[in-house]
Amino acid sequence: MQSKNLLELASAISSGAVRVVDLTFTLSPDFPVIVLPPEFGQAAPVRIQEISRYDGRGPAWYWNNVTFGEHTGTHFDAPIHWFTGKDLPNNAVDTMPPKDMIAPACVIDCSSQAAQNPDFLLTVPIVEAWEAKHGRIPERNWVLLRTDWSKKGWRDYANLRDDGAHTPGPNPEVMKWLVEQRGVIGFGTETIGTDAGQAGHLEPPYPAHHFLHGAGRYGLQCLCNLDQLPATGAVVVASPLKIQNGSGSPLRVIALVAPT
């Protein structure tokens, strides 16, 4: 590839010929975070505290102190996040190869199924049907599960009931298959986790975390605007904060979409 092509890309982005779609929720204290049983350690919520705002604390400048857990807001999961990936090389956000931060995406639209059933699980036949229409998922692609979950109000978004969260996700077979048979670079969702709300009851529990991170692949969650992406051809830029030995981080996820 010549540098000319790269400059053409930059110019197409600048002119708007290549659309840049923001797949990120605003990082704010209001956004739901993962809920674990209270006896476990909890993700620190997002907090934004003013240092100064053109006032006596700093007359000409505005800035904040920000605190949050690694897994808050739209965020990235590195392999080290799960026990299956704990011994892999370069498994944290600071050591992962930077080239993995840019990759094409296949978007599987399951919004109608998810609207019918909050516990909808993605299966191999659904992906095979998608492939029949859009072609085989290439290696080192993101698979993004579109559910339109990001369009819900926060309460329905978290959808917590007395038996836990009810949100869509992948089943164990499809996760193993995507990782082993399709060599995906990662799996992304609109929901609070890459796994379904009830995934603790699957075998293995939390299959997306289990298989993705066990194979050194990545997770993206709390994505939005997936409805603005084509089924294939979008390129996702997802570069997490370089937190030392970090298991993940909130990040700005953008997608480049070429004109059709």
Binding site: P29, P32, V35, G41, Q42, A44, P45, R47, I48, Q49, E50, G153, W154, R155, Y157, A158, L160, R161
Partner: protein, 413 residues
């Protein structure tokens, strides 16, 4: 007979909100024996250990036998109103604004004669019941009530200056997710609060009792995460000028001390919720409350903290929690001083372990959340500053006063 107070009309926005004046403040150090009694709703006088006679006002030596051995003890409250007078044009700004103001000379059955503020139903020659109250300066004053109940007794103008009665006031209960908050909401509403705003953090997270809370009239559920600076500031921007009583029902209880916990995550949450939450609430709501201390029937009146009695003495089984409560206790004294110019009371309610989830493994006696709610209301109606709810709290206080070192060893079990 006292006319019942009426629900306040809406304010005339063309009129300036009058600033709260304060009654005279200076007291001798010895006189603060009365302050301590008034803060707890007790009636105490000095009694001579040598001759047994009661003395008033506070003295350094017994007026009967000149012994210096005078101690504050609980004293009989009964007396007789000898004479009353009405101050119509007092020179003091506070009293001038509230004139006419009745005071009287009361002969106590136990001996001394006391100049006291009078409830409207006190009549010359009749028996009265005396109490010590904290006035808008936070200082103890003697207050004479009729001996029995009279109609609309709590609505007396002079009495209301001494109390923080929820009637017709607007209350913010900061955390409605827990049982304590929910019981407080119900009790305050039953006590005649006009509106109870009830804060709910993370409204996307369901919680027990939510339906019942939503179904009650006069209750407004508001989004409030006390630990989040912006959430608190946003709510204060909406309702800061309408919060007459703030009841801080933050509940964040976790067992554990230092060595058996790993890291500071839980401690940080404890500090975030209890201590920083307190600061956020104070900074957002305090200034308007301080400014609105004389704003009519529904003037700002009180700030209530619910503190663990282990704020006074660390209980290692809940050691880090105890420390967070101690921090809040210290902060409450700062808040009390800062709200003083507004005449806004800061009431601390100390409890032992409460009958809630995180004290599951603690054996009884435990304090029922409803008992806390009832104590809040009775404390506000009585104008108290310190309350000990339940046997454990009272016992810890007494053991601490008797021998702090012994208590430290005893709590280490």
């Amino acid at each position: 007979m006292i006319d019942p107070i009426k629900p306040p009309r809406r304010k005339n926005p063309l009129l300036r909100t009058r600033l709260p004046a304060s009654p005279p403040r200076p007291r001798s150090r010895t006189s603060h024996g009365f302050t301590r009694a008034a803060a707890e709703g007790r009636f105490m006088l000095q009694r001579c250990e040598a001759c047994g006679s009661f003395a008033y006002p506070a003295r350094e030596a017994c007026p009967s036998c000149l012994s210096a051995d005078l101690a504050f003890v609980d004293a009989p409250r009964r007396g007789m109103l000898l004479a009353e007078t009405t101050a119509r044009v007092p020179s003091d700004v506070y009293f001038r604004e509230r004139a006419p103001w009745r005071i009287g000379l009361v002969k106590m059955d136990c001996g001394p004669t006391i100049v006291a503020h009078l409830h409207g139903d006190c009549a010359e020659g009749a028996a009265i019941c005396m109490s010590l109250q904290l006035d808008k300066s936070g200082q103890a004053v003697a207050f004479a009530h009729p001996e029995g109940d009279t109609p609309n007794m709590a609505d007396d103008k002079q009495w209301r200056e001494m109390t923080a009665d929820p009637k017709f006031r607007r209350v913010l209960v900061t955390n409605g997710r827990g049982v304590i908050g929910q019981e407080a909401v119900a009790a305050l509403k039953a006590a005649g609060a006009k509106t109870v705003f009830v804060g709910v953090a993370e409204p996307w997270r369901p919680f027990a009792g939510e339906e019942r809370l939503r179904d009650q009239d006069g209750i407004e559920i508001v989004t409030l995460d006390a630990a989040d600076e912006k959430s608190v500031a946003d709510l204060a921007a909406d309702i800061g000028g309408k919060v007459d009583i703030l009841v801080n029902t933050t509940e964040y209880v976790r067992p554990g001390g230092l060595l058996d916990r790993r890291g500071t995550s839980i401690a940080r949450d404890e500090i975030d919720q209890a201590y920083l939450g307190f600061i956020n609430l104070a900074q957002a709501f305090g200034p308007a409350m301080r400014m609105r201390g004389a704003d009519g029937i529904n003037s700002s009146a009180a700030w209530v903290n619910i503190l663990s009695v282990y704020a006074l003495a660390n209980w290692p089984a809940f050691g880090a929690y105890s420390a967070s409560q101690a921090a809040c206790l210290s902060l409450s004294h700062c808040l009390r001083a800062e709200l003083r110019p507004g005449g806004v009371k800061v009431m601390n309610l100390f409890t032992g372990p409460v009958d809630t989830e995180w004290f599951q493994m603690v054996p009884p006696p435990k304090v029922a959340p409803r008992a806390i709610a009832q104590a809040i209301v009775s404390g506000l109606k009585g104008g108290l500053e310190e309350m000990y709810v339940g046997d454990v709290a009272e016992e810890i206080r007494q053991r601490l006063a008797a021998n702090p070192k012994a208590l430290e060893r005893e709590l280490d079990r």
